[in-house]
């Protein structure tokens, strides 16, 4: 998915003379194409993330349409108050790219891992939040974010080589990425970002419906009808369940007044720092979310639904 960012930046620079990219001394090859073709559209503001948000706000107020790039740990986490006051309060159309979200930087430890960005941003007024699962969703989210008249945050997590969707997707509503085998089960998998891949592979193996949720705010209310008559929902995300998609699903169900028995199970990051070094799968493993553990936990969850396992 990450490879898809660079062409989006280039296209935006070519189609919109107000477009600028700001980075806090980070990003390297992500900006190579932009810097080669439009060096004047890239501004390295230095290792100064807080100022960077204020600078983006000022640029916005003088007619520019900046995109701000950082690691999710720094942008938006380190700069949360600047996002709140400099961007959200004035409803300024700045697009924030938060890279490496989740446990991508597994060997670099707690400072570079980020499982709290969505939870921190969700209560802020005016900001839209996107969590694409592949290059196609990324493009759809980017187009929508660039069209928003308010701030937007794009969460870029672990980049897996293969796309989920077979081709371009329209809009940012929840998307069924795998349909249930008729009559197979009353369990549904809901996932966002990099974790759609894991949800999809389990859904395929067990004939379940799997839904990807690329836009988390404004609330994706059209998810609720897609749950059909499900009795159990598993929510998978590389983010803390509390405050993330799991919370969001529960809140939407409550608000919709769905008065039937529906259990919503959390498969997200635990509220803890990873304790040891290792690769991405190892870090997920500390949260019981590694590929194997997740498959085992989902199997146990599915077994408990009483659905037949193939």
């Amino acid at each position: 998915m990450r490879h898809a960012v660079s062409p989006l930046l280039l296209e935006a620079a070519e189609s919109d003379e107000r477009f600028l990219v700001l980075s806090g001394d980070h990003g390297y090859e992500l900006f190579d194409a932009l810097r080669t073709h439009h060096p004047d559209r890239f501004v390295n503001v230095g290792v100064a993330e807080q100022s960077m948000i204020g600078i983006a706000a000022g640029l916005c107020q003088t007619g520019f349409r900046p995109c701000v790039y950082g690691l999710a740990s720094f942008v938006p986490i380190r700069v949360l108050e600047q996002v709140k006051m400099d961007l959200c309060f004035g409803s300024l159309p700045v697009v924030i790219l938060g890279d490496g979200a989740g446990l991508v930087y597994s060997v670099l430890g707690a400072s570079h891992q980020c499982g709290e960005d969505v939870a921190c941003l969700r209560p802020l007024p005016h900001i839209a939040i996107y969590s694409p699962c592949d290059a196609h969703e990324l493009r759809a989210c980017w187009i929508e974010a660039r069209g928003n008249s308010t701030p937007s945050y794009l969460r870029i997590g672990k980049s897996h080589p293969d796309d989920i969707h077979p081709g371009a997707v329209q809009g940012t509503s929840p998307k069924i990425v795998h349909e249930a085998t008729p009559g197979s089960s009353t369990a549904v998998i809901v996932a966002t970002g990099a974790m759609v891949r894991s949800g999809l592979s389990f859904a395929r193996a067990h004939g379940l419906r799997c839904i990807s949720v690329p836009r988390l705010k404004p609330a994706p209310l059209d998810l609720i009808p897609l749950l059909g008559d499900a009795e159990r929902v598993a929510v998978i995300e590389e983010h803390a369940s509390s405050g993330g998609l799991w919370s969001l699903v529960l809140e939407m169900l409550q608000a919709a007044g769905t008065n039937r028995s529906l259990r919503v199970e959390a498969f997200g990051l635990r509220t803890m720092f990873t304790a040891t070094a290792g690769d991405h799968q190892h870090a997920l493993g500390e949260h019981d979310l590694g590929d194997e553990q997740l498959a085992r936990r989902l199997a146990a969850w599915l077994g408990a639904t009483g659905a037949p396992s193939p």
Binding site: S23, D25, H26, G27, Y28, N44, V45, G46, V47, A48, Q50, S51, S73, F74, R78, V107, L108, G109, A110, S111, H112, T276, A277, G278, D279, H282
Partner: protein, 262 residues
């Protein structure tokens, strides 16, 4: 102990076993760490948590392999730790984290270490302790506003047991500091902020040791030593080449590095 060539060899071993980035970032720190651990700093070689030790805060936490190299010499890190560096389930992370004995502050996010070091110096001053606080920062890290806020506080409270050491290698992540966001003139800036600041060759161990060693008597001002260094120093293929901020050693470069450090 703390012979720069040996320390650099430890760094190359760590970087190659761990397939780690940040080789150049650690190499510029070697003499600074050698001077501190080699005599300037008060600590207990047997006990990284000795209660009366000076506190060393590596604010540019991505240079942590230079600290680990000293810990290798001290026996705080074993050959096994080095061989397993960054492997699944191991305790040493690629950035400075305070759950590793000898690492006082978690500082992978830039602009955190100095404020914490200032808090330590302030706390120790309130306790009328004679323990010192040493804080190593990057010249690119000086982009962060939190650094300058902390400097104001340090000078305002006359924290004379605090020494800030700037690893002034002239680079940051994406380019030369002068081209990205200049932080010079560092000596004048530290002086203007109320520090007693000096400058020296950051690879000249005796000069560094002299610059770092505190003079007797109260000074009523925090100190700054601007160590003029070369990113990647000690390996001819990496010296002053910022690709070694993120490039990983392969078999060929590892062999070349070990040959040069023999």
């Amino acid at each position: 102990m703390f012979e720069p060539r040996t320390l650099r060899r430890h760094i190359v071993d760590l970087a190659s076993h761990g397939r780690s980035a940040h080789l150049g970032c650690a190499l510029s720190l070697v003499e600074i760490c050698a001077a501190l651990y080699g005599g300037v700093m008060r600590y207990d070689r047997q006990d990284p948590a000795a209660p009366d030790r000076d506190l060393l805060v590596l604010s540019k936490g991505h240079g942590v392999m230079a600290l680990y190299a000293c810990f290798c010499d001290l026996g705080w890190i074993t050959d096994g730790d080095v061989r397993a560096y960054l492997g699944n389930g191991t305790r040493l992370r690629g950035l400075c984290e305070s759950d590793v004995p000898g690492c006082e502050v978690s500082s992978g996010s830039l602009g955190h270490g100095l404020p914490v070091a200032v808090g330590m110096a302030y706390g120790l001053a309130r306790l009328q302790s004679d323990r010192r606080v040493w804080c190593i920062v990057g010249d690119g890290e000086m982009n962060e506003g939190s650094m300058w806020e902390a400097m104001l506080f340090a000078a305002h409270h006359s924290l004379d047991k605090l020494t800030v050491i700037v690893d002034a290698n002239g680079f940051q992540a994406m380019g030369r500091t002068d081209e990205v966001l200049s932080t010079e003139p560092l000596v004048a800036k530290f002086e203007a902020f109320g520090f007693a600041a000096v400058e020296c060759d950051g690879h000249d161990l005796p000069a560094l040791t002299a610059a770092l060693t505190p003079h007797d008597g109260p000074r009523h001002a925090p100190r700054a030593v601007i160590a003029r260094t070369v990113k990647g120093h000690g390996l001819s293929f990496a010296a002053d080449d910022n690709r070694w901020h993120y490039t990983r050693l392969d078999d060929a470069t590892r062999a070349a590095a070990l040959e040069e450090l023999r």
